[in-house]
Amino acid sequence: MLRLSSPAKKVILIFLLTLLAGFISLPHEFSLFGRNFTRPNINIQSGRFDIQKNLDLVLGLDLAGGSHLVFEADTSKLPAEKKKDATASVRDVIERRVNLFGVSEPNVQTGSFEGKDRVIVELPGIKDTKQAVDIIGQTAQLSFAEVKEASPSAILVPTSLTGADLSYARADFDKNTGKPVVSIEFTKEGGDKFAEITGATVGKPLAIVLDNQVISAPIVQEKISGGQAQISGNFSVDEAKKLAIELNAGALPVPVTLIEERTVGATLGAESIARSVRAGLVGLSMVLLFMVLEYGKLGLVADVGLIVFGVLTLALYKLIPVVLTLPGIAGFLLSVGMAVDSNILIFERFKEEKVRRPVADALEVSFGRAWDSIRDANISTLVTAFVLANPFDWQFLNTSGPVRGFAITLALGIGLSLFTGIVVSRNLLRVFIREDKITK
């Protein structure tokens, strides 16, 4: 029976792990030697367990294309204790609007800094941001008002009926004129109110007011008790649809203004990816070459460790998943450059130690001595990465996506490089150097 030493077992384990990670790292579809392959996603079903995982890289807005919008909610008129609730409700309304608008995987968050309340909206794949901003930014406060004729001008007297009494709104066409209208249906309570109001105003106009603007003021012909009505203004089809979305999602409790917009087209994103990949490959080859030239056989082992590092990192991005941004890719590339540091530390130490003791011992001693430096040195980078990534959403620190992307990939890179630099290289060296018995 073949008896394997413990480092050899570990090397086999690492090899299998890398193989698995390599499989995960593969793109969903790729071709090799003229044949096309498809990598399946994880889909394990057994008894009560049902694990499904999409193993594609998650790209941020700057790479996939999309829009990042920041709205400021005007909560200045509200008492301090109500601000938080108002902002949260703004968030909910915006989220409903965005969903009704048909954006896939939108991300709507609140934020506040020194008394200013914000709602951050991320819309992947949206090109026409003007339309999106129009829909999100509209307060959509609907109300009905009686019109009291008093010379020289008419006075509006608001009724108790508002947008909150709606159960449903739909873009429609008027049966008689064929013009776009918005059909609305009231809740039970709203329907009763509506019947009461129309009963009292027969023969008089009833104004439909949206955000303090009268959009129409039809004359009430008779008491309407069905709980249904139609809003006709001079709408285009798009305007009618937009209004229906806003009414369905509910009114914003406070007005919002757009204070920041960043939109990246999908073309630019794709170009950024292509460029980063090329830069990464060139940089990586230079590092690999440098290590071999500088450290010979040892460098080759470090290179294997570095490739294992790259494959594991990619797999981890997919499993967590990490939203990859352009600065995020830079963070990854930077961590590749830093990943060999632990190896360099150890190899330099090894050069000193092997003069004093047998090669195998020197190797172990070098690993042991270098570990203190490696740990202490990397903690400082992790501290900075922590501040940049701001995992607890501290409002006094940065919460911007690209910066976080950079910090997260950098931190992950450092964590993993400790593993590959120490565990992977160490065991590889134990197996190969010992059995090779280099005696220099």
Partner: protein, 285 residues
């Protein structure tokens, strides 16, 4: 440590150039800090800067600059614009020059001051945490303080150099610059810790003063320090040359920081430590 004064002089020259530039030209703040709009377009038809500017200014938007990039697109900087203006500009450019919109950023004026504050908080937290970590790890304030001074040295070098780059090459200070600056803080300490670690190890084994051990520790760690910086520099140079315009200055900032960080560990942090100890001895003696 014979050439301590030479090292300090080199640092002083670089810092002086940067500080001079900071006072004379200041920093070139981008839209993240100042507010404003950036439009990036690619055109099928022939365009010129003048034509673009006059067309855009017909919408009453104010053009700050028009810049052609390496990959054939144009970056147009404006003062903040409304969505209506943006819509009109888009239609005009599309009609006249068959334009394709690549990127649009519009930042209100309120964002900048917040970013400045958030950056300061981040800097203070990182620097304090690192100082505490080094001081605790080496059980000495001297070590922590000199590491942080070296870190401060690197920040000043980077900010000063960036001011020069901003004046001569139009490098803008944006949130990526801030990110790079914070990353450099940690890089700076990274190398310093490795040298300090060597001093500590020799001290345990051989004893003696920091001054005696410093030269030995520096020469022992020099090769690893250089080699490690080389691998990082390879990646950054590749990014700088091939990575595209969006992250070019980000890579450049990191590169300057890495070089300065590599230099500052043996030639700033350790000399400060040695000087500190000598002064301490003189006071005691």
């Amino acid at each position: 440590m014979k050439y301590r004064l030479v090292y300090f002089a080199i640092s002083a020259v670089v810092i002086a150039a940067g500080v001079f530039s900071l006072f004379k030209w200041g920093l070139n703040f981008g839209v993240d800090f100042k507010g404003g709009a950036i439009l990036e377009y690619r055109f099928k038809a022939d365009v010129s800067e003048e034509k673009l500017t006059s067309l855009i200014e017909s919408t009453k938007a104010q053009v700050a600059s028009v810049q052609k990039t390496g990959n054939g697109s144009y970056i147009i900087r404006l003062s903040p614009i409304t969505l209506e203006q943006k819509g009109i500009i888009g239609v005009l450019l599309e009609k006249n020059f068959e334009a394709q919109e690549l990127r649009f950023e519009n930042v209100g004026p309120s964002i900048g001051p917040e970013l400045v504050k958030k950056t300061l908080y981040a800097l203070i937290i990182s620097a304090t945490a690192i100082l505490l970590w080094v001081a605790l790890q080496f059980k000495s304030l001297k070590f922590g303080a000199s590491a942080v001074l070296a870190m401060f040295h690197d920040s000043v070098v980077v900010i000063g150099t960036y001011s020069l780059l901003g004046h001569f090459f139009g490098a803008e200070v944006d949130f990526l610059f801030v990110t790079a600056l914070l990353t450099i803080l940690s890089f700076s300490v990274h190398d310093t810790i490795v040298v300090y670690d060597r001093i500590r190890e020799s001290h345990k084994k051989l004893g003696g003063s920091v001054t005696e051990l410093a030269d030995k520790a520096i020469s022992e760690t020099m090769v690893r320090s250089l080699n490690n910086s080389f691998t990082i520099i390879f990646m950054l140079v590749a990014l700088l040359l091939l990575g595209g315009t969006t992250i070019r200055w980000f890579a450049a900032t990191l590169l300057i920081g890495t070089v300065s960080g590599t230099y500052s560990s043996p030639f700033v942090a350790v000399p400060i430590l040695v000087t500190w100890e000598e002064i301490q001895k003189k006071i005691k003696g």
